[in-house]
Symmetry: C2
Subunit: 351 residues, 2 copies
């Protein structure tokens, strides 16, 4: 956007780590979380990177995170494991889960690692990509951290945007899908409200089921699932797999972590890793994936489109450029981050 | 529908098995396929049960299926296996895959079984349910057997309705999601054409991207994915996971099995099984799943709805009634099946 400042990624990482450390996180953990938050920004997942710092910091200061957690595997068999995050910051729990999934999949062909007592871990795509960059196929599911969606036919907000991310190794960069099961993420609603814009029909409905286009009235309304009952079904089964089966919160017991900085969220996630080198020659399989994607990319356009993009072409395909040019931050976010700097007694981001 | 005849399931099974055996399938295989086709009808998946018999029979007679297949595991490690279906009827391949996934998951916690050189296997939900009724959570992905969808922004039909099915054990019956990644299945388009009805906007677009509502013009058009680019992304990654990584067809090499009865389809599928008894006490986990679902079912309705249904409430929840009352068949389908009976020299379905 016009007016955005591009901040070098090293400066961002240092800033985030400094702020989190001042909030009580041990230095090594602060650096890990900073790296994973900036990894979201590097994918262009602007709602899941440094944008979240003020919120995380508020929870850290309120004692909502355990800063000395014992993140551990509590049960497991073969390729299946369940991690208790001990209420650590979610990034720490999920990096552990993703790395364990890769390790278990290399030993057992396929692995599934669930988490309980985790927290918001930023961009789903960061963890699926971690698996794909180790050469395996990755699939990530999570229970979202606030219920903004009613069940299909209902009006009580019992579901979240429960996302799915799938990453599949290919030549160049992996295919990377990272999507909410709702038409719009709630962050886009908040952004529209901040900018005084109306929302397009199809994002939300009110309690009567009528289209809701004024983001100022969003509080009582529901995000709409993609494909109506289908998206509701996806959100439900992803929530059961990532939450309920792991002993994590889902449904009525989900804590709105934007409204409540203290109560443990008991967030659940799940990550799958598949060692495709067992199915065939890895190089040949990556070439086959690339061929399917290139056929699609190079197929004829329909009017109104300038390109056919494969999931990942913008996020992973744009990562090197973001790395080189820095992460664009809006003036509003910069002001918030200056306040963070002042409250943490750290240097503000460089201009 | 008015005019539908309810046919007892035993009669249906016998009829299908007789027809397939007359087409050259060994008796035991014909009975297995018949059982799995009727299992689709018992779920109310009317487009995937006996409705498919004339098509399967045509392919059988044309030599498009291998009636003496050697269905075998060609590679595997731990919980991961790849089955070569040897161009058998897909039901035979997928039942083998689902049972193997359950067996491997019991040994390794989690299992993933892929298939190549399989064929159309009927309703996705049948195989996910097989896993859930063994007490495990199941997830099934498949490459659809005809490309009816263009990529997002494109006009060439390079993708299918690539479905997902997820089944999770619960009290009563499992949660069962079974959905295409398109707004409407192509079968619904054909049904609208047959009945001379127009389609609602949102099902299909023409090559220019304009809404297509006349099903007679469907041939050049594209089904629309749920959630626009999101559904395209889901269809793509499900196709890569179920097809490309298994060495099966996906993209330009998919054979339209409705138009071509001879060419091997090299269909790919994948099924995951997760032994939830490793994550916790199975009974307690099923109770937790049921509690989340009951909270949703019992939450307040919005206007225009008479109930909130959890995926599976109609399909598995209605199975006992369909079992007792028989499967409803339309007069048009009955006429086709009478022709099948005549051509196979078997008794027609009882009236």
């Amino acid at each position: 956007m016009t007016g955005d400042l591009h901040v070098p990624v090293d400066a961002l990482r240092g800033f985030i780590a400094g702020a989190l450390a001042s909030g009580g996180l041990p230095e090594a953990d602060a650096e890990t979380v900073a790296r994973l938050m900036v990894a979201a920004d590097l994918l262009g997942a602007e709602g899941h990177g440094i944008f979240r710092l003020p919120r995380y910091l508020a929870r850290l200061r309120a004692g909502g995170f355990n800063t000395r957690p014992d993140i551990r595997v509590i049960v497991g068999k073969g390729g299946l494991a369940l991690i208790d995050g001990d209420n650590a910051m979610g990034h720490l729990v999920m990096e552990r889960a993703a790395l364990l999934a890769v390790e278990l999949a290399r030993a057992h062909g396929i692995a599934w690692v669930g988490t309980r007592r985790s927290n918001h871990a930023g961009a789903a795509g960061v963890y699926a990509t971690m698996v794909a960059e180790a050469g395996l196929a990755g699939l990530y599911l999570a229970v979202g951290n606030a219920n903004h969606m009613a069940p299909w036919g209902g009006r009580e907000l019992l579901l979240s945007t429960n996302p799915i991310s799938v990453a599949i190794p290919a030549e160049g960069h992996p295919v990377l899908l990272d999507m909410a099961t709702t038409v719009a993420a709630y962050g886009k609603v908040k952004l529209a409200a901040q900018r005084g814009q109306t929302m397009p029909e199809g994002w939300m409905i009110d309690a009567e089921g009528k289209p809701l286009t004024d983001p100022a009235l969003a509080a009582g309304g529901s995000l709409l699932p993609i494909g109506g009952p289908k998206g509701f079904g996806l959100s439900l089964v992803f929530g059961l797999l990532a939450g309920t089966l792991n002993g994590a919160a889902f449904g009525r017991d989900v804590i709105d972590f934007n409204a409540d900085d203290r109560t443990e969220t008991n967030t659940g996630q799940a990550i799958l890793a598949l060692d495709l080198s067992i199915l065939g020659d890895s190089t040949a399989l990556q070439a086959a994936v690339t061929e399917v994607c290139d056929d699609i990319r190079q197929s004829p356009l329909r009017p109104g489109f300038d390109a056919i993009r494969i999931p990942g072409d913008r996020s992973l395909g744009g990562r090197a450029e973001r790395q080189a040019q820095g992460i664009p931050l809006s003036p509003g976010l910069l002001t918030q981050l200056d306040q963070v700097a002042a409250s943490c007694s750290i240097s503000p981001l460089p201009r």
